[in-house]
Amino acid sequence: MSTLEIKDLKVQVQTEDGPKEILKGVTLTIKDGETHAIMGPNGSGKSTLAYSVAGHPRYEITGGTVTLDGVDVLTMSVDERARAGLFLAMQYPVEVPGVSVSNFLRTAKTAIGGEAPKLRTWVKDVNGALDRMNLDATFSQRSVNEGFSGGEKKRHEIAQLELLDPKVAILDETDSGLDIDALKVVSEGVNRFRERDGKGVLLITHYTRILRYIKPDHVHVFVAGRVAESGGPELAEELEANGYERFLAAVPSGV
C-alpha cells in the first residue's frame, strides 16, 4: 500500500526582495498503484512541488500537509523521507566528486534497507540495473554523476529507482534531454517499477511523448503554483494540441 496525499500545500522561497510564494495551495492524491502526470509551463512550480515533498531546505512550507500512508512527511528530515519510501528523480542530478556510484548505491541501499545488502546478489543487482539503463559496468566505478552526459544522469536516476525500490517516485522531467532510445529505456525502467505491487508515480513532464510509453491514470495541468485542471490521458492530448493558453488566460496577470 502507498498513498501520497498532498493537501493545500503552500510553499515560499526567500529571495533578495523577501519571501516569494511559489506554491499557492496544491492538492493532489496519488493512490495505491497510480501514475499521475503533471504538465505545466516553465516556472509554474513543478520542481518546487517535487523538492518540497522531498524536503529540500530551500523551500519553506507555509501551509498544508503532505502524508505518506497517513504519516506526516513534512516533519521528517530529507533522509527520513527517503527511508519512509519517497524517491525523487531530479531534473538536474548533482555531481558528487570522488564518491563512486557503487559506494553511493551501497550506502543508500544500506540506509534504506536498514542493513547492508548481501554482497553477492547486490553486485549482480547493481550491474543488472545499470545494464538495463544501458550504462556499462564502468559506471559503478565513476564518481556520482561527474562527467555524465545529461542523458546518462537521467538513466542513472532510474537505475537508482529500480535498486532503492521506494513506495512513491516523483520523476521531475526525467524525459527531458533524452534521445528516442534513451526515452524507451527509461520508460521501460519506470514501467518495471510500476509493475511492482502498489507503487505510486508522479511524473512531471513537458512532453506527451513519454506518456505514450508510460500511461498515466491521471493528468494534471499545473499553472502558477496550483493544479488548474485534472483529467485523464485525454487532457495531455488537448495540451499537446492547444498548449496552455486556455489555462493561462484564467490566471490573473502579474503572477
Binding site: 522531498a54 524536503g55 529540500h56 531546505p57 530551500r58 528530515s77 530529507v78 533522509d79 523521507r81 527517503a82 527511508r83 524517491f87 525523487l88 531530479m90 542530478p93 548533482v94 555531481e95 558528487v96 566528486p97 570522488g98 564518491v99 559506494n103 553511493f104 550506502t107 543508500a108 540506509a111 534504506i112 564518481s143 556520482v144 537508482q160 532503492l164
Partner: protein, 398 residues
Amino acid sequence: MTVTETAESAVRSALEVDRVESHLNPPASYDLADHPVPTGREEVWRFTPLKRLRGLLDGEASAATLTRETTLPAGVTLSEISADEAVALGELGPNDRPAALAAANAGGALLLDVPAEAVVAEPIVIRLTGESVDDLVWGRLLYRIGAHAEVTIVLVHTGSVRYSALSTFLVGDGAKVNVLSLQDWADDAVHLGRDAIRVGRDAFVKHTSISFGGDLVRMHANVEYAGPGGEAELLGLYFADEGQHLEHRLFADHNAPKTKSHVVYKGALQGKGAHTVWIGNVLIRKIAEGIETYEENRNLVLTDGCQADSVPNLEIETGEIEGAGHASATARFDDEQLFYLRSRGISEKEAQRLVVHGFFNDLIRKVGIPSIEEQLLETVEAELAKNVLKVSADVEGA
C-alpha cells in the same frame, strides 16, 4: 564547491630584470646573521603564530633526539655524516632561521644513500617519534638518490616534540622518486620542516606532505632542477582541528628549461581556531623556456570558526612557457550535494563523510603508495569522527 575560485592562469606579466634571487624565497645561507629573528611582519612569517614556535627561533643545541625506526631494503644505506660532508655533498642550504638553526645545532647529518640504478620495490620507511614537547630536537637529513634509481621513501612523524629539520633530496638524472612525509604528531607537537629537492635531468619526483597532528606544523617543499626535463609532482593533504595551525609552503623554482611542476594540495578544517595556510610560489626564470606548471589548493571548511589562507604566486620572467596556471578555492559543504545524498536515505552525517572522503579520495589515490593509502583513508575517517561528534554536541547545546 565554488566560493572563491580565483581565475585560472592569472599570470603576472614578465619582468625585465633578470633577478638571480626571488623575493618568493629568501636566499639560502648557513649564517644565522642572514636570518634575523622574525617579528611576524615579514612576508614569509606573517601567517605563522610565532609565539607558538616555542624556542625554535632561538633555541640551542640539545641532547634530545627522536627515536628512529627504519626499514631499509637491501642496497640502501643510512649513515651519519658530518656537517661539512653534508655541505660538500651538495646540501641545499637553509632559507629561514629555524632551518639554519637546525643546520647549526644538529651536530652532523643523516645520509640516506640509494645507489645509481637501484630499483627498490619495497618502500624505505623512517619512523621518527618524539618523547615529549619539552624536548627541542634539530634534524638534518640528506637523501642521495643515484641516477636512474627508483625508490619510495616514507617518513612518519609521531609523538610529541619541538622539532626543526633541514632535509635535502638530491635526485640523480633519470631517477624516479616518491617521497611521503606524514605529520601525525600528538596535539602539542611543533614541527618546522624544510624539504628541498634538486631534480636531476629527466628525473621524476613525487613529494607528498600530509599533516594531521601537531599544535603547529609548518612545512616547506622546495623544488629546483639540476637540468632540463625534470618533473616534480607536489601533493599535500591536511586536516586541521580546533586550535591547530598547519602551514604548507611550496616553492617551485623553474631554473632550467623544459621542466615541470604540478602542485595539488587539499585541506579540511574543523573546530574553533583551526587555521591552515597554503603558499604556492612558482618562479619561472628567464632561462626556463618551455616549462609547464600548475598549482591548485582546495580547502573544505567543515565548521564555523576556521580560517584557510591560500596564496598562489606565479612569477614569470620568460614569455616562452608551455603552460602556467593555478586555482585556489575555499568552500563549505555544498548543500546540493548533501541534499542529493540525503534524498537517497543517507543520513546527514554519513552524507558529510561521503563528501569529505570524495574530496580527498583522488588525492590519496595519487600518492601511489598502496600500503599507506588505506591508513590515510582511516585517518581521514578518524578525523571526521571528531567533527561528527562535535556537530551533534553543538546541536544538543543549541
